[in-house]
């Protein structure tokens, strides 16, 4: 007798599936499986290599910091910080070192105790050039780490700054030396261990199937108590629309940044609801200071401050924000999000005044032609506007800006590119006239230096517009160096006002994050630095649990 190939395939498929068995269901106050629809894939999961929001989420759930930042995200001194891996800390008299006392109950997920040498190892891993950690610049003030005893790590700083505690406590996730110390630093990225995380955080790592899922399970023996959920699964999705479909059909429980044009569907959904969340992102319409691809030749249009200011005045930022974000619109107040501690809503922004904009363009030599497009010395007021195809708000803003600027005689050619190309042209080749970009700020004022400071031009920073003003540099330095929050805010405000007046960009919006949340899920407080910050407190009440919530804590089939 001969079996048909079809029958063999069906048989093989059936047999391969017949290995699993359902594990015990969770009941009571704890339990439930959270499925997160995550746009894109984590680039890396090992803390020193994490470079995106998905990797940051996993890092935050699997690993611990020395101390947790307060809900107000204060970065000066240790005010507001609460113990995490370190149960306490002691400042040196000169404030140039801090001794962190590791919680003796803290254990890695493989059962080994957390020690002070793990802290030393972690700092080495972040700072070693062979690793190339994106976080390394944030730890630049750390001189060294000493191990006083097995549970006391002493962190020494190069200089006393207001944010030295924040630097070590917030930027660093502690990793086990006995796991990752076996791998040479230059092989950490491609090593198998970087895919198998061992941390001390509220969730244990289960598996990472790239492009399919990242799965975590509650660490029920955690020294800070177990999280309320049993399991967290991050499902990568190709785009926001795919995520919306998963949320509305109940296949996913949480989605960061639900597509703003579909929020109305959440309002009428019996499965999911909309939750406004704080964000550190702000979007702007930026002008290239130099000619495309050049590092020295001035841009033929945007080198003139009057032109930049005129274009800024032609833009009705309030109407545009309302058009794109609807009831969630938040018009920008400057080169910062309002969630930042030093944010100031009283700064002077260019007014919306098209008559004044036209007059300013006239006075700067750009005269309207018969077709309505202005020209100067025979060259039209025409430029391209680059934006990434992956951002729905920026796609919508591009069209609105094109129309708004046409009304004052500027012809804008839309230049939609994929994310890779956008990044390469914005930061590497500077091959663009104008762009629609968004910055994700750091809770600290030093983040502003990384976006707008002269030192952030070129390979070391994110100043893609190559904006430079020594006065701004000095004011931001003063703000970052101030131990008095009020003085820091005052200096930062002056710097931000100067940036607004120089018009390197038109600041359009604070990104209003609207998260989609399954109605059976009870959230903890959401924080601007990451939706996952308080995930240990998220829960699914027993009476609202569905099939996937009953998977429990058992191991998956191999």
């Amino acid at each position: 007798m001969r079996a048909s190939p079809l029958l063999l395939i069906v048989l093989a498929t059936t047999l391969s599936a017949c290995e699993g068995s359902r594990t015990a269901a969770s009941t009571g106050a704890t339990g439930g499986t959270l499925v997160v629809a995550a746009i894109g894939e984590a680039s890396d999961l090992l803390p020193p290599l994490v470079a995106d929001i998905n990797g940051a989420a996993i890092q935050s759930m699997v690993f611990d910091r020395l101390a947790d930042i307060g809900q107000n995200l204060g970065t000066v001194g240790d005010a507001g910080f609460t113990p995490r891996l370190a149960s306490s800390w002691t400042w040196a008299a000169d404030s140039l070192s801090i001794a962190f006392h590791i919680d003796p109950k803290a254990r890695w997920h493989d059962g080994q105790p957390v020690t002070a040498s793990d802290v030393r190892f972690s700092v080495r891993a972040y700072l070693d050039p062979k690793v190339g950690s994106p976080t390394a610049p944030n730890l630049g003030n750390i001189d060294s780490v000493g191990v006083r005893d097995s549970l006391t790590a002493v962190v020494y700083f190069k200089k006393h700054t207001p944010e030295e505690f924040y630097d070590i406590a917030y930027q660093l996730f502690v990793m086990p030396e006995h796991v990752y110390g076996k791998v040479p630093f230059d092989q950490l990225r491609t090593s198998d261990v970087s895919r198998k995380l061992v941390g001390s955080g509220p969730f244990r790592f289960v598996r990472w199937d790239p492009k399919v899922r990242i799965e975590l399970v509650a660490d029920t023996a955690n020294y800070h108590g177990r999280p309320k959920l049993d399991r967290v699964i991050l499902t990568p999705i190709a785009d926001a629309n795919a995520g919306a479909a998963l949320m509305l059909s109940g296949q996913a429980d949480f989605m960061l940044s639900f597509p703003i044009d579909q929020v109305a569907k959440l309002d009428s959904s019996r499965v999911a609801r909309a939750v406004a969340a704080p964000s550190f992102s702000y979007g702007f319409f930026g002008f290239n200071r130099f000619a495309p691809k050049s590092n020295s030749a001035p841009h033929p249009i945007f080198n003139d401050l009057r032109v930049r200011r005129a274009l800024a005045m032609a833009i009705n930022r309030t109407a545009m924000a309302g058009n794109v974000f609807g009831k969630f619109a938040q018009v920008s107040h400057g080169p910062f999000p309002m969630t930042l501690g030093v944010a100031d809503s009283t700064l002077r922004m260019p007014p919306y005044d098209t008559a004044a904009a036209k007059a300013m363009l006239d006075s700067s030599g750009w005269k309207a032609g018969a077709d309505g497009i202005r020209a100067k010395n025979g060259k039209p007021l025409r430029f391209s506007l680059m934006y990434p195809s992956t951002s729905l708000p920026r796609k919508q803003y591009a069209v609105l800006l094109q129309e708004a600027l046409r009304r004052v005689g500027a012809q804008v050619d839309l230049d939609q590119v994929d994310a890779q190309t956008f990044q390469a042209r914005a930061l590497d080749s500077h091959d663009y006239d104008a762009l629609l970009n968004a910055f994700n700020a750091d809770p600290s004022v030093t983040g502003s230096k990384q976006s707008w400071g002269t030192s952030a031009i070129g390979p070391g920073g994110q100043n893609s517009l190559r904006y430079s003003n020594v006065k701004v540099d000095a004011l931001l330095d003063t703000a970052a160096g101030s131990f008095d929050p009020a003085k820091a805010k005052a200096s930062a405000a002056k710097a931000y006002q100067q940036i607004i007046d120089d018009v390197p960009a038109v600041f359009l919006y604070d990104l209003p994050l609207v998260d989609a949340v399954n109605r059976r899920l009870t959230l903890g407080p959401l924080r601007a630095d990451g939706w996952f910050a308080n995930i240990a407190d998220w829960s699914i009440p027993p009476d609202k649990r569905i099939d996937r919530d009953r998977i429990g804590l058992g191991p998956a089939k191999p």
Partner: protein
Amino acid sequence: MRRQIVARLLQSLIVVVIVTTISFFVIRAAPGDPFAYDSPMVTPAVRAHWRSQFGYDRPLIEQYGRYVVSVAHGQLGYSFEMHEPVSAALAVALPRTLLLTGLALTLAFLGGMAIGAAQAARRGSWFDRVSSFVLLVFYSLPDFWGALMILLLFAYWIPILPAGNIVDQVTHDYMSGPQAAWDRARHLVLPVMSLALLTMASIARYQRAAMLEILPADYIRTARAKGVSERRILWHHALRTALTPLVTLAGLFIPALLGGALFVEKVFSWPGMGLIAANAIAGRDYDLVTATVIVGSLLVVIGNLFADLAQMALDPRTRE
């Protein structure tokens, strides 16, 4: 015949080398690289360091030389998209694509041959006309559009089948054996159906034409004269002869199926070769892109070789 096979193998090797070389340079000509993803956390200096670490800052010709040496040693490189060696990623993805295309090819041939033969036997009937029209519709459909329509129909408008993936990503590994088997089978239906339907249409058209060519042949007339039943003439005599060109066609369908699988896998999030290739291109995952091209071109030349060999085996005239 042995000489012919060796010659075809050498030709195939040259084709694979040329295609690989072209893909190596083309993907590097596109803007970006594996580390150019949109992340405000990564400074240009860090990106430059990573590029240097993996040799992407070296001259292209040097990168190519290194790659050739690496492949010659059986190393296909590292995939930054899949976070594992390329060979490991392919070892997982390739069987999934072969399962999908294998099932689709089997169904397409069985269905296509049956429909084509039945059409030829009832030439000019309403069945022939209606089925020809339906097949023409499927034949004309672009792969991705056809797959999208099937997805919309059975996963959203009449939601009876899962919209994508190889299994239920959340619960599959915690299901009982029969539940897991059922889950796996359900996830196969739409992608296999999409790929099979689109291929089946052209196979049926070939089969119908071949049968119509054979049915008036002398030996068929002789069989009728001897009193052999119409059913036996159709399924034993005519169909067996008409199968010869179709067997050849099976090998030639492999490239088309692989191309179709790329779209179908993307539409149904089926994590096979097509999907990882598409993701690799978007992420400028150089080594993975080149490796998928190598594997794809190998499958194509193997398919062509199989077609040639089958032709030689079935038709003695082609052996000379």
